[in-house]
């Protein structure tokens, strides 16, 4: 009977090795004083040292991966095994100055002749391995193990059950023992192979490139102007009153801006005087020739100088034409606001412009009537509309909008009161002066009253009444100052000519004051137009006055270099000073 012998069998392993999900426990970076770390893949070489060599359960070379790192002296599970079983991870325990790990296998006994299983778990295999750092290197304050050495001890013992079945090793022994030397080194870190990323490895233009808008750049704004700009931007308030600088801010900046304000006043003043002088003198010297020239195009010219004016149309028709003209002028005034549309701000602006027109006509009429009554002059009057003035109003709106001039040119002679009876030259000059002063006072008064109303209009939810008052006062000021400015041009057909004929001093005073207010408050406000540029509107204003000068010179040159061929001698005596002509007054109206 043959004896059963012990054979190498790894069929039944008991739990010295447990599968562990985590391999290479991550540890926090350690300082130099901390225990060294074993990191990355390692190769452990097993070299037989002594004892029985009849069994060989473990591989000669083990591959452990310590992953992100294991601290020496701490439990750690690493990838890889010894080959003694099919385990793919190894649990390391603290041992001595390094790691210790063990394994146990239940061995079965097989018949060496038939190969038949004779004894289940007839012997036990145990191994104990130790690995201790033999070389440590510090990198950036962290100690890393760069080499380890150790020992592997393996034992096989036939247990009583095996002994009962006569199990033994191939050499007949019931106990076997062997030792091996372990040498561990980290695997060489390879150079990464060439390759290209499949996608972007960063922040590309697709996510960063963008377009958008920011609020327009503004000149430095005072607190009220900031509120005005916000209210206009939000559509709560019209830009026409919104762009008017309040008196307190204008007064505050008087000294800062005095030199350039005065320079501009002086230049505009000169551009008002000299071209008008040229025009007037040319007109007077060539009056008869001009009259004949104009007569060719006039189907129904006015009767001879000094004759009674044409028949006055019926009252209803006069009022109707005036109201329609004023209505159209109101819409044009409303178009000064880029935000014109079906909204509360536009509604308030239209009401404000219309009422301002009526107030201006009333002031001009009242002042003219009062003067004539006080001087015992004829003071009966009738309403007269000048629809052709709408053309001027359209031009003003276009210029304002094209140059972003805010609040804009609120101007255009639409009509007004016509007084019966002709005044002598000096009296007429006084009457015009009174009317212009009245208009200036109303405009400045409206501006002073404008400040608290503008403050209220800039509130979050202003009522319509406040918005209307805001527009009305703003328009009275804008229309008043701009109407005064154009009326004061000493052109033959404008009030400025009659005031200047009465006296240079009142004309200069009125013109200088009006020009200064126009320049300082409307043309070049310290905060711009709601903070926007004032360059374009300033240059356009200068260009308009310059164009007036050029046209005057062209007018003069025409008659100077094209003498009449009819043989009529010399210049005429000029027109009568009592000629009845329409007169512009503040508020874009007409009185005569």
């Amino acid at each position: 009977m043959r004896q059963p012998v012990l054979v190498l069998a790894r069929a039944a392993m008991l739990g010295a090795f447990a599968s562990v999900a985590l391999v290479g426990a991550v540890v926090a970076p350690a300082g130099a004083a901390d225990p060294p770390h074993v990191q990355g893949p390692w190769t452990v070489t097993v070299t037989f040292e002594g004892g029985d060599s009849s069994f060989d359960f473990v591989d000669d070379e083990w591959h452990f991966s310590f992953g992100a790192g294991c601290a020496v002296g701490a439990a750690c599970t690493v990838d890889g095994g010894t080959g003694a079983d099919e385990s793919t991870s190894t649990a390391l325990q603290p041992g001595g100055q390094g790691f210790r790990f063990t394994n146990h296998l239940d061995l079965d006994c097989f018949d060496t002749v038939t190969g038949e299983l004779r004894t289940v778990h007839g012997a036990d295999y145990d191994m104990v391995a130790t690995l201790v750092p033999s070389k440590v290197e510090a990198v950036d304050g962290v100690s890393y193990v760069t080499a380890m050495s150790g020992r592997l001890v393996e034992d096989i013992v036939v247990n009583p059950k095996g002994l009962a079945d006569n199990c033994s090793g191939t050499n007949g022994a019931t106990k076997e023992h062997r030792t091996s030397k372990l040498a561990a080194t980290p695997n060489q870190l390879p150079a990464p192979p060439a390759g290209t990323s499949s996608g972007p490895a960063g922040v590309g233009p697709a996510s960063t490139d963008t377009s958008g808008t920011i609020p327009g750049f503004t000149l430095p704004l005072d607190d009220e102007a900031v509120r005005s700009a916000a209210a206009v931007d939000a559509g709560r308030r019209s830009s026409v009153p919104g762009a008017v600088t309040v008196p307190s801010e204008s007064v505050r900046t008087i000294t800062d801006r005095l030199p350039q304000d005065l320079l501009l006043v002086a230049v505009l003043g000169l551009l008002m005087v000299f071209p008008a002088q040229i025009f007037n003198s040319t007109y007077e010297e060539n009056h008869e020739r001009i009259a004949r020239f104009a007569g060719r195009f006039r189907r129904r010219r006015r009767s001879e100088e000094g004759a009674a004016p044409a028949a006055v149309p019926g009252r209803f028709r006069r009022v109707a034409v005036f109201v329609v003209s004023a209505g159209l002028g109101t819409v044009l005034g409303g178009l000064l606001d880029p935000g014109f549309g079906a909204n509360r701000a536009t509604a308030a602006l239209l009401i404000g412009v219309f009422v301002a027109l009526l107030v201006a006509v009333a002031i001009a009429t009242l002042s003219g009537w009062t003067f004539r009554t006080a001087r015992h002059r004829p003071h009966s009057w009738y309403l007269r509309a000048i629809p052709s003035g709408l053309v001027v109003a359209v031009a003003c709106v276009l210029v304002s909008r094209l140059t972003d001039f805010a609040p804009g040119y609120l101007y255009g002679i639409l009509g007004g009161a016509v007084f019966a009876g002709i005044l002598e030259k000096r009296t007429e000059g006084r009457a015009e002066t009174v009317t212009l002063i009245a208009g200036l006072l109303v405009a400045l008064g409206a501006w002073i009253a404008f400040e608290p109303v503008a403050h209220a209009a800039n509130a979050a939810h202003p009522n319509l009444g406040v918005l209307v008052a805001d527009s009305l006062l703003g328009c009275l000021f804008i229309g008043g100052i701009e109407g005064m400015l154009f009326s004061l041009i000493p052109l033959r057909f404008l009030p400025g000519h009659r005031v200047r004929q009465w006296g240079w001093v009142p004309w200069v005073l009125l013109t200088a004051l009006t020009l200064y207010v126009f320049v300082h408050v409307l043309l070049m406000p310290s905060a711009g137009y709601l903070g926007r540029s004032t360059s374009a509107s300033t240059n356009v204003t200068i260009a308009l006055f310059g164009a007036f000068g050029v046209l005057s010179m062209v007018f003069w040159a025409w008659f100077r270099f094209r003498p009449e061929k009819t043989g009529i001698p010399g210049p005429s005596a000029g027109p009568s000073d009592h000629e009845v002509v329409p007169v512009a007054v503040p508020g874009s109206m007409v009185a005569s």
Partner: protein
Amino acid sequence: MTARGWPRLLAGAALGVVLVSGCGEDPGLDTAAVESYLAGSQAAAYGADAHVGRAHCPGRPALREGMILRCTLAVSDASVPYRLTLHKVHSTKVTVHVALDAVVLRSADVQDFVRKQLPKAFAEAAVACGADYLVTDVGKTVECTVSSGAQARPVSVKVEDAEGRISIT
């Protein structure tokens, strides 16, 4: 008007016009508004882990249509250059086009790419490429260091295109 008076008048008027032609005021470039827009527009462009800080547009260039501003934006520990083009500068709403003026790589993405190129056994190797965000350009290289334990190896990563594709050559 005399023959001698005309030239004087014309010269005086012309001089006056020249003197006052520059009287109007134009708002200047508000760099603070532009910087604020830049920082705001890029808040979502970077990851939630990024800290998008302040933008800076140096100098005080004159405001003009189509002007280009070169600004930087602090993103975590990097200063990212941008090219901003301004249109409708005199309008109530200024249009700003923001364009990245460099290739910006996310360091973590570069490190992941390098790590994935390594053999599996070194999957846990440490890769360091510097700051969280790397500002570079197409054709340039970013120097990284791969380390495992005490071993370290430099790796050059080349920027292939403006989108941020990279390669190891």
